[in-house]
Amino acid sequence: MQDFSAAFGEAFRLVASLDPDLVEIVGLSLRVSLSAVLAAALIGLPLGAALAVARFPGRGIALVAVNSLMGLPPVVVGLLIYLALSRAGPFGPLGLLYTPSAMIIAQMVLVIPIIAAVTRQTVEDMKDEYDEQLRVLGVGTAGMVATLLWDARFSLLTALLAGFGRAIAEVGAVIIVGGNIDHVTRVMTTAIALETSKGDLALALGLGLILLALAIGVNAAVMGLRRTAGHAAFG
């Protein structure tokens, strides 16, 4: 019990003193996960909106696939990305394995289906309302996708939030493709796993506290933005 108290005390001290190692790890985590979510959004938002608007043979299968991929096991994604980026893999010459870029790619692959699936549902609900109005104006499929994405932009923050939650909390894929190399690819989740296995509970706890605070802070900020900006724009 005394060990736990000491660990908590040390954890708070590390956070309060902005320990350089801790700051570095948090900074890299944010950089990797935010980049992954941004990249995933560039693909997932139009993909989800297109699935909501377009009607084509095999659409049902595509929807099942996107929904199923939301539950992709991170270690499997990590393994596949590892194989693709390893020296013998098709992207081996790029030399990305064990770099933050590899971690961004892995998280992006995990996040795309989440953003696409939530976007598809959100946009499809709005499309039911807008469909006839836009068709009578002669708006084509591409125009409809753009219009719906823009008008759903505040609701779609939820999709980005869900993606960020998945990315920042993920450990299985990034540890495989990043290698958890100190000062290079060590992020909060991999550091927590490592420090816990080494028995250094203080750093693990400190990172855990920050991870929790980040999750709550980002959620609160996005919800606040959604409410205020959304209300201003839509009423």
Binding site: E129, Q133, V136, V139, A146, A233, F234, G235
Partner: protein
Amino acid sequence: MRPSADPDSGAGSRSDRRVLPIRGAGLAIRRAGRVLLDNIDIEIVPGPLVVIMGPNGAGKSLLLRVLATLVPPDAGTVTWAGTPPGRERAPRLGFVFQKPVMLRRSVIDNVRYVLKVAGVPRAERNRRAEDALADGGLSRLAGSPARVLSGGEQQRLAIVRALATRPEVLLLDEPTANLDPSATLAIETQVRDAHRGGTSVVFVTHDLGQARRLADDVAFVHHGRIAERGPADRFFNAPSSEAARAFIEGRLLP
């Protein structure tokens, strides 16, 4: 059509092809064993304000949607100015729905949007949108989110938006069905002004009083058929069909 760099609108500028006369020939729609439109022939020509009237479920709104190509008929053809409507953007036809569809934007941005889709140059859009709102008496609400407007204001905005692109014909599907008398009066005034300004109007309603106030020409729809079509005076004073006579006299129709 010219391509547009505008991501919001898709591509192209508004079609210059004419819409009137709109002709429907042999239009038929059947759903779940029920005949909703039964071999309807109808023509909308420039000039008279046409009211499509009839009881609920008669097929009036469906007929309007078929004429606007929002719903394809199971049988029959629709032509605009003599040729089948294509998939051109921003046809010269405005449509106002019973429940107005307000984009999640400000009032003026709702108008700017349709101007953008119609290919109106950016430099002109703002002035045109402001003029349209002024004509509709909505200038003071220009910056408000469209979805917080009252039902009557939303419908007025829907009409302003439909007229902003200067359509050749305006189709309205029971636009006052959910509105109080004061809002209804405002809408009717707006429609009459548009008609006086040269826009052809087709107005669907089941409200006899409204039809009397607005119609130059009446098409009476009953059980998916046009039971009677003719000038409003003749229709109201000497209806030739039993269904129309019963409707005008307020008798219940089977």
